[in-house]
């Protein structure tokens, strides 16, 4: 135990940079996933079959193939096919996480848009709004609070996938801790530390998302208690709380 602690403290800059890499992979991956979620989610509601089809194929492909395998394809396989192809390992992780979780996220967007009562769209038609105005001013603001709890789940899952970066030799938190464990031979404290750090990060993200949800709901005239902000499971099932 002592050896690990000494090594941990002595290598603080490495640990910190590993933590930062993990956070970067999470946040950039989530940003890409967020953009793809809306893009694919909106495309899946299109009246045009080709647009719907592209979205469908993308979503099914990235949901249906393992993230692990996708990562290996991006990092190890593509460079053997095209030798000009070179990619930063971290960027590789961000792309794989973003596309994979974007595929899941698009289902969240699609479901939440579909859960907005049809009557709301009709009221917007009766006021002669354009299709874009109906989406932007009426449907999306009402769908958004329903997206946040499932998005929070996906965000935390994405965070917990980042140890996969170890496999493509990114110096993330997992990799740094592996190196410390290797050097000191102390397995329990090394993995215990990882558990604690991931739990703290995940809980912080949960509370952040709870606050976002409370703010979004307040705009719809629904209010959340302070205690509700601390809860760790994702709130009501979409559509039930209205």
């Amino acid at each position: 135990m002592g050896d690990f602690l000494t090594a941990f403290l002595d290598n603080m800059p490495d640990v910190r940079s590993g933590l930062w890499t993990t956070l970067q992979a999470t946040l950039y991956g989530a940003a890409l996933a967020f953009v793809l979620s809306f893009l694919l989610g909106l495309m899946s509601g299109s009246r045009l079959l080709p647009v719907r089809g592209v979205s469908r194929v993308f979503v099914e492909f990235f949901r249906g193939t393992s993230l692990y395998v996708q990562l290996f394809w991006l990092y190890y396989v593509l460079p053997t096919i095209n030798t000009d192809y070179e990619i930063e390992p971290l960027l590789c992780g961000v792309l794989a996480f973003g596309m994979n979780y974007g595929a899941y996220g698009s289902e969240v967007v699609r479901g939440a848009l579909g859960a907005v009562p049809k009557a709301q769209r009709e009221a917007a038609i009766a006021l002669n709004m354009t299709p874009f105005q109906r989406l932007r001013r009426v449907v999306l603001p009402q769908a958004w609070p329903q997206m946040i709890p499932p998005f929070a789940n996906l965000l935390i899952q994405l965070l917990k996938c980042t140890p996969l970066l170890w496999l493509i030799s990114v110096q993330d938190l997992m990799t740094v801790m592996e190196q410390l464990r290797d050097r000191t031979g102390e397995t329990v404290p090394a993995y215990l530390t990882l558990l604690v750090i991931f739990f703290v990060l995940a809980y912080a993200l949960t509370m952040l998302m709870n606050m976002l949800e409370a703010a979004a709901k307040a705009r719809l005239g629904q209010h959340t208690s302070a205690r509700g902000l601390l809860r760790s499971r994702s709130g009501q099932i979409a559509g039930v709380d209205r």
């Binding site: 709004m129 001013r137 009426v138």
Partner: protein, 275 residues
């Protein structure tokens, strides 16, 4: 199915070039089907500008469908709806023929029409003021201050000046419906569609909303089409009452005639059951 009906073949392709007289709304042999079920069966009627027409009849007789067709929330299965001489769900091609309307045409014709719904349908993501000025500002391009000024006037009309900053969720059903009426009027429609606007209200809130609508009917020249089960209200505001049954108008006339001397047995049964 409708063999007893003199069927005039009026598909969109050979529709007449306009509408007779000065009717603001003209249903010209309108058919509406959902699958095998025929809701409106070669429906023909006209509404003159400035008139108030009430549609009565048993549930499922197609009354609400008429309003939804006029609001372009549904498409006709056959026939043509004319509004102010223009085809509503069709557009004229350069050759004078009628084709299914595109979004651009629909937005053009919707300008004239406003609707108040049974379930109010206020936007919960906007406060009362924003609900009212949203479309005038973003659809009509009205200046925001001017729209807000008009909204204050409309809220005064509906008796809710103190609720301007409230969320729809903080209002009673009756208050929400008044805001919805103000929201529809803010678009200055020529035709106002009222779809069972008091059916979802608690009984004690009904009278207030109906009084408001009576005021509006008296003090404006808006053409109104109402679907209602409030026969007292229908009698008060209507120029014409139309009795619907199974997708057809079986009888229409002044409120006096319909309510005191209905000709059709079905009308007598219906009124007898609900009065």
């Amino acid at each position: 199915m409708a063999t007893d009906q003199p069927v005039k073949k009026t598909g969109p392709e050979d529709a007449p070039g306009g509408t007779s007289g000065s009717a603001l709304v003209h249903f010209d042999q309108v058919v509406k089907r959902y699958g095998d079920h025929t809701v409106l069966d070669h429906l023909d009627f006209e509404v003159q500008r400035g008139k108030h027409v009430t549609l009565i009849g048993p549930s499922g007789s197609g009354k609400t469908t008429i309003l939804r067709l006029l609001m372009t929330l549904e498409k006709v299965s056959g026939g043509v709806i004319w509004v102010d001489g223009e085809p509503l769900t069709h557009r004229r091609t350069p050759g004078g023929k009628l084709k299914s309307a595109d979004e651009k045409h629909l937005r053009q014709v919707r300008k004239k029409i406003g609707m108040v719904f049974q379930q109010f349908n206020l936007f919960p993501n906007m406060k009362v003021l924003q609900n009212i000025i949203e479309a005038p500002v973003n659809v009509l391009g009205m200046d925001k201050d001017e729209a807000a000024e008009r909204a204050r006037g409309l809220l005064e009309l509906v008796g809710l000046s103190d609720k301007i900053d409230a969320h729809p969720t903080q209002l009673s059903g009756g208050q929400q419906q008044r805001v919805a009426i103000a929201r529809a009027l803010a678009m200055r429609p020529e035709i106002l569609l009222l779809d069972e606007v008091t059916s979802a209200l608690d009984p004690e809130l009904v009278a207030g909303v109906l009084d408001l609508l009576r005021d509006i009917a008296r003090s404006t020249d808006i053409t109104m089409l109402c679907v209602t089960h409030e026969m007292g209200f229908a009698r008060d505001i209507s120029d014409t009452v139309m009795m619907f049954n199974e997708g057809r108008v079986i009888e229409s006339g002044t409120p006096e005639k319909i309510f005191t001397a209905p000709e059709h047995e079905r009308t007598r049964d219906f009124l007898g059951a609900i009065l």
